[in-house]
Amino acid sequence: MNTAIKELGELVGREYKEGFVTDIEAETLPPGLDESVIRFLSGKKSEPDFVLQWRLEAFHRWQAMECPEWAHVHYDPIDFQAISYYSAPKRDEDRPRSLDEVDPKLLETYNKLGIPLEEQKALAGVAVDAVFDSVSVATTFKDKLAEVGVIFCPLSEAMVNHPELVQEYLGSVVPPSDNFYAALNSAVFTEGSFVYVPKGVRCPMELSTYFRINALNTGQFERTLIIADEGSYVSYLEGCTAPMRDENQLHAAVVELVAMKDAEIKYSTVQNWYPGDEEGRGGIYNFVTKRGACRGDNAKISWTQVETGSAITWKYPSVLLEGNHSTGEFYSVALTNNCQQADTGTKMVHIGEHTSSTIISKGISAGRGQNAYRGLVKVLKGAKEARNYSQCDSLLMGDRCGAHTFPYLEVKNPTATIEHEATTSKIGEDQMFYCRQRGLSEEDAVSMIVNGFCKEVFRELPMEFAVEAQKLLGISLEGAVG
C-alpha cells in the first residue's frame, strides 16, 4: 500500500466523540414482544382505541412476514424477543412543562452533544422537540407556532388531541403492510413528532427534533407524520446522535410526509449514530422507511440527508408524485468508514402528469466501508411528460472500501425524459498534495476535498445545518494525525 493511502487510512480512523451514557433510571419493559406489550404501550399513552386496533393489526401482519435480506448489507439475525419495546425517563407521569423542570442530567447530556436547548431557543428560533429514549421531554416554541395554527407535538399527544387528523393520515403513505420494519414500527412505535401546517401557512421557523438512543437493548421505533395542507410550507430538521454501546441497537423508524396542492415540505436529516468500532462491534442498525406523497398538483417534497453514523443503514426516502406538476427531490451524502455498511437511495414514483424528480447522491467510502446506492425511478402509464435527473457520485478513500450503484428504471410512458449520470473517483494523492502545498494540514485537506465533493447536497441544507453537517463529516474523517 502506498504511503498516501495509508495516511488517509489513519486520517479516517478517529474515535466516536459522543459515546457516553446518562445514568438516569429508566422504566424499562422486560424484553419480548406479544400482544400484551402492544396493549401496554397503547395504554401508557392513553391512545384512542382505533390506534390500538391499528397496532394489533400491524402486529399480526408483521408476524406473518419474513425479515428481509439485502445483497449488500450483512448482519447477524436480530432476535426481536430480546429487545425491550419501552423505556422512559422515570418521572413519566410528572412531565416537565418547561426547560427548568427538565432533569438537569438530561440537559447535561444534550449539552455534551452540543445541543444546548436554551441557546438554540434564543439563537436560531428553532422549535426543538427533543426525544430522549421514548418520551418527549422538552418541547419549545409551541405558542408561537400555535399563533399561526401550526401543530407541532409528539405523535402521542396528537393522537389524543387531534385524533381526526391522525386517523386520516397515519399509515396513509406508509401502510403497515409496506415492509417488515414498517409493520414492526406500526405495531410498537412509541414516539415521534406530528406536524400539521394549515392551508396557506408558511411555517415561521425550522422545526427540529433530536433523537437519541440511550437505554441498553432498547430499540427505537419513532413514527413521524407531517402534513402540509394546501399552499403551505414547512422545513423540518432531524438530527441524531447515540452513545457508545457494545450491542447492536435496532432502529426502525417510519416517516410519512403528505403535501397537498401547492404545498412544499423540506425534510433534512443529519444522522450521526454510533457506527461501531473499527472492527464493526456495536453500532446502530438503522432500518428506516421514509416516504412522502405529493397528493395535490404542484406539490413539492424534498429530502436532504447527511449520514455519517450507524453500523448498518438501510433507507430509501421516497416520493410518490401523485399530483400533476408535482416535484420530488432527493439530495444525499452517505459516508461509510471502518466496517459500516450503507444501502441507501430513493424511489421516485411518477404518477401524475408533468411530474419531475431530481436525485443527487454522494457516497463516500473509507476504511472497509461499503456504500451502495439503489435508486428506483418509476414512471407509470399515466405520467405524461415525466422528467427525472439522477446523478450518483462515489468517492473512495483508500483501497479497501467499496461503492456500488444500482439505478433501476421502470418506464411505462414513452414521453418520459430520464437522465442518469454516475462517477466514481478517489481522493487523489495529487489533490492532497496540492492542498498541503498551499499550507493546509492533512486533516483540513481531506475535509476540504470531501466537503467540495458534497457541495451540491450541502447547499440544500438550511444554513445552521449545513455548518453542522460539514463539521460532522470533518469529525467522521479526521484521524489521529497531528
Partner: protein, 249 residues
C-alpha cells in the same frame, strides 16, 4: 536561501537525481533547463515534499532549516511555493476557499492574526490585477474547467497571494500562447524582490526572454551538467540538448 548538496533521489527504485548541487541566494532567479524526463519536476517535487520520492543521499537546506524533515504544509507555511506543471482540479472547492485557508494557515504559523473577509478580498483584488485574472475565477472550483493557460495564471496568482520566500515554477510557460506568456512573465517579474528567490523550471528558452534569470543550469543525467548566465540558455536553444551530452561525455 536554498542550498542543495549532493542530492540523490530514486523513484520506485529507479535513480532520477544523482548527486545534484544547487545554491540559490536571496533575490536570485535561477533557471533550470533540461530535456524531458531529466528530473526537473522530480527536483521541484522533492523541494516541496511530495510523497513517492526517496531521497537516498544529500541535503536540502532552506533558510537554515533541513527542508527534507518537514511536512509539505510546514514547508509551504515557511514560504516554499510550487507552481505545478499540471495543476490538479478539485471539484466543489472554491478557488478562493483554498487560498484563504492556505493563507491563514501560514499567518497562524507566523504568529499573525488571520485576515478578515474584507482585508482578504482587498488583497485578492489587488493580486488578480497582476495576472489579469477575472474575479469570477475566485468562485469557481479549483482549476476545474480552466484552460491550460488559466491554470498557469491561477498558479501565479496563488503565488502572489502567498508571497513565498522561495517559488519553484515548474514549466509555467508550457501551454501558454505568447500573450498569456507575457502576462504571466509580467506577474512573475512584479514578484521579484530582494528577499524572494525563484527557480524557473523550463524546457524552452522562450520564457527567459521575458523573465531574465541570474543563473541558468542544465539538468541531465540527474545532475547539473552546466551552469552559466542567460547566454547558456541561448546556446542551448541553438544547439539542442545533445550538445550538453557531448560536452559532458
Amino acid at each position: 536561501m536554498l542550498d542543495i548538496k549532493n542530492l540523490k533521489v530514486t523513484v520506485d527504485g529507479k535513480a532520477i537525481l544523482n548527486g545534484l548541487n544547487l545554491n540559490v541566494g536571496p533575490g536570485e532567479v535561477h533557471a533550470i533547463m533540461g530535456p524531458n524526463g531529466s528530473g526537473k519536476s522530480t527536483l521541484a517535487n522533492v523541494i516541496a515534499g511530495r510523497d513517492g520520492y526517496e531521497v537516498t543521499n544529500g541535503s536540502v537546506t532552506f533558510m537554515g532549516n533541513d527542508l527534507l524533515s518537514m511536512a509539505p504544509e510546514d514547508r509551504a507555511r515557511e514560504g516554499v511555493f510550487l507552481a505545478f506543471q499540471y495543476p490538479v482540479e478539485i471539484p466543489g472547492v472554491a478557488n478562493i476557499a483554498l487560498l484563504k485557508e492556505g493563507l491563514n494557515a501560514a499567518r497562524r504559523h507566523r504568529g499573525e492574526t488571520e485576515l478578515d473577509a474584507l482585508d482578504f478580498l482587498k488583497l485578492v483584488r489587488e493580486k488578480l490585477k497582476l495576472v489579469e485574472m477575472k474575479e469570477e475565477f475566485l468562485y469557481r472550483s479549483v482549476n476545474e474547467g480552466f484552460s491550460g493557460g488559466e491554470k498557469k495564471r491561477n498558479e501565479i496568482f496563488q503565488m502572489a497571494m502567498l508571497e513565498p520566500s522561495l517559488a519553484v515554477l515548474d514549466e509555467t510557460d508550457s501551454g501558454l500562447d505568447i500573450d498569456a506568456l507575457k502576462t504571466v512573465a509580467g506577474g512573475v517579474n512584479a514578484l521579484r524582490s530582494e528577499d524572494r528567490s525563484i527557480i524557473l523550471v523550463t524546457h524552452y528558452q522562450r520564457l527567459l526572454d521575458y523573465i531574465v534569470p541570474d543563473r541558468v543550469h542544465v539538468l541531465a543525467g540527474g545532475r547539473i551538467l552546466r551552469s552559466g548566465d542567460k547566454q547558456l540558455a541561448l546556446d542551448l536553444e541553438e544547439r539542442g540538448y545533445g550538445w550538453i551530452d557531448t560536452v559532458a561525455a
